[in-house]
Amino acid sequence: MVLVLALGDLHIPHRAAELPAKFKSMLVPGKIQHIICTGNLCIKEVHDYLKSLCPDMHITRGEYDEDSHYPETKTLTIGQFKLGLCHGHQVIPWGDLDSLAMLQRQLDVDVLVTGHTHQFKAYKHEGGVVINPGSATGAYSSITYDVNPSFVLMDIDALRVVVYVYELIDGEVKVDKIDFKKTATTQPTH
């Protein structure tokens, strides 16, 4: 039972002041084992805050991040799952699922986590699953102003992942979940 927090596109301080209060109250240290961050935090203070929630943090570079040393992409293995991380502004057209699928096959991962569009998405193709946790602060994106704050918490348990989607709609936190399993023999064949 490994809890992995996936979030990104906070754009603090440029487009948002901080995380919504309701999210902040839920995110307490000690519960989460890993944090994967798609990028665009943008400042060190946010980095430090996330680090305080969980020491094991992985982050990739978004185009507005002030720390230029974050990698463009990252892969990590948690339990039986290979996770890939990339901000997504590098993949053109932005948010295009086929292009993201190509990136996923390149990285050879089961689950690819990307951002940039500030819209939550969970899509499955033969290569695996693409998850976009959206923007944790609800900051406006290059595409739209209509953004609900959202993030994702994955519960990885052996070959099964339960994805809890936290979204702030009209001031209330709504939680949904998505279940998916990985069969032991499933491998990206390309």
Binding site: M1, L3, S25, M26, L27, G30, K31, K121, A122, Y123, K124, H125, E126, V129, L153, D155, D157, R160, V162, V163, Y164, V165, Y166, V175, D176, K177, I178, D179, F180, K181, T183
Partner: protein
């Protein structure tokens, strides 16, 4: 003429002639009420000789051929410091066979078993394990119901474990029966994954008290504490050490037991030191020569651990500390016991040197002396503790008092620091002697 022996004889005390009858007279005088008149045995020659007389009532510890009859257990044994060595000469085999005989009865005489256990149980085999289980009330006196009872209790333990110790992930998996969660089909379908409502409204970051996740995280502190303590239990013993795979398995079992206890008793939770109280139980049950019993050592240890602690559970409750049932009351009771038995020593300790029993006896009492003696000696002490008809606590206080009395000489010649040092690092003294002294105390 039917001869009756006193308990003295089991140590090889042999009296010849009239001196013997004098001593015997004094013994019978000092014997407690209901003691029968004792006549001394006349022996030829010196040295430990065993006289075989079938109609003798004896405590046949060392002669396996003799029939075990009803014992005159009201006679206190007179073991002196010098002869405690002899006591250990009596064979383990003797104890073994008599105990085996007793345990093979259809209905076990618990009084007799208590009496036998008080003199120490034999090591090895499964006799100690079985006796402890009987003494703690885990096994009933009627042998026939053992199978059924054991099976019942063991399955109860596993059910409890399932219920209480599962992590929320697996729990939610089990409770998810909503038809919208079609795991299988998701695997084949390509496209957007559907977001499903959570039927219980529970999620990992939930802060609600009713949330399984929240409760799980609340427990992590306790779990960490238990983990730390279990790893520190008897690290020098292979059985407990985390270095070996068998040690790790045992550590996991102990963790489960302690965690379950803490969960089911939130008022007490887990208190540091409970791992030490559990260790001897778990060890003895796991070393049972009966394979089935050894396999189920975890379940049996849990049940016996609960029973063992039920006596002293009030000692662990912080807010009961100063009440009439708490640890402070017990300590003052202990202090009074010392005063009763040796006023001079009591005065020196408590009044003159201000060595409060809190400073040394707290650990003795709450941890049932597991930290004060070698592991093997602890087993011997527990034989006496568990077998005392007045209860574990009573006997424990007496043993502690005896411990203090046995180092009287050193205590009287020391100051506060020396006294404390001595009592907190109790010197190795023959355990049989201490137990004897505890028997002789004024109640």
């Amino acid at each position: 003429m039917s001869l009756k022996r006193t308990a003295l004889d089991r140590l090889g005390f042999f009296f010849i002639g009239s001196e013997a009858s004098k001593t015997s007279a004094s013994i019978s005088d000092s014997g407690p009420d209901g003691g029968e008149e004792l006549e001394m045995l006349q022996v030829v020659g010196f040295g430990p000789q065993i006289v075989r007389e079938v109609d003798m009532e004896i405590h046949g510890w060392y002669d396996t051929e003799l029939v075990f009859k009803t014992l005159d257990k009201t006679v206190p044994p007179m073991i002196t410091k010098e002869f405690s060595g002899l006591a250990s000469i009596e064979s383990n085999d003797g104890k073994w066979s008599n105990l085996e005989f007793e345990l093979s009865q259809k209905v076990i005489d618990l009084d007799r078993l208590q009496w036998m256990a008080n003199y120490g149980l034999p090591d090895g085999g499964g006799l100690r394990a079985t006796t402890w289980k009987l003494l703690l009330g885990y096994l009933p006196a009627a042998r026939d119901s053992w199978e059924a009872d054991l099976a019942n209790n063991r399955s109860k333990y596993f059910a409890l474990k399932e219920e209480e110790l599962l992590n929320p992930s697996t729990l939610t998996q089990r409770y998810e029966t909503s038809p919208s969660n079609k795991l299988e089909s998701v695997n084949d379908v390509i496209g957007f994954l559907r977001r499903n409502k959570i039927s219980t409204g529970d999620h990992p970051l939930s802060l609600s008290k009713a949330s399984v996740w929240h409760q799980f995280f609340e427990n992590t502190e306790i779990v960490e504490q238990i983990d730390r303590d279990v790893q520190r239990t008897h690290p020098s013993m292979k059985f407990f050490s985390g270095d070996s795979s068998v040690g790790q398995k045992n550590q996991m079992a102990m963790r489960s037991i302690l965690h379950l206890f803490a969960k089911l008793n939130p008022a007490i939770g887990y208190v540091q030191g409970m791992n030490e109280v559990l260790a001897p139980l778990f060890y003895i049950f796991s070393m049972d020569s009966d394979e089935k019993n050894a396999l189920h050592a975890e379940a049996d240890s849990y049940a016996c651990f609960v029973r063992l602690l039920s006596d002293s559970v009030d000692h662990f409750c912080k807010h009961l500390d100063n009440s009439s049932v708490g640890i402070m009351a017990t300590l003052s009771h202990f202090s009074q016991l010392i005063k009763l038995n040796d006023e001079e020593l009591w005065r020196h300790l408590e009044i003159f040197n201000k060595v409060n029993p809190q400073f040394y006896a707290f650990r003795w009492i709450t941890l049932l002396l597991t930290q004060e003696f070698e592991f093997h000696d602890v087993m011997r002490i527990w034989d006496s503790l568990l077998s005392n008809p007045l209860g574990i606590q009573e006997m424990l206080l007496r043993v502690c008092c005896a411990m203090v009395l046995c180092v009287k000489h050193e205590l009287l010649s020391g100051d506060f620091a020396e006294n404390l040092k001595l009592l907190q690092h109790y010197p190795p003294i023959d355990i049989e002697y201490i137990l004897h002294v505890s028997e002789e105390l004024i109640r």
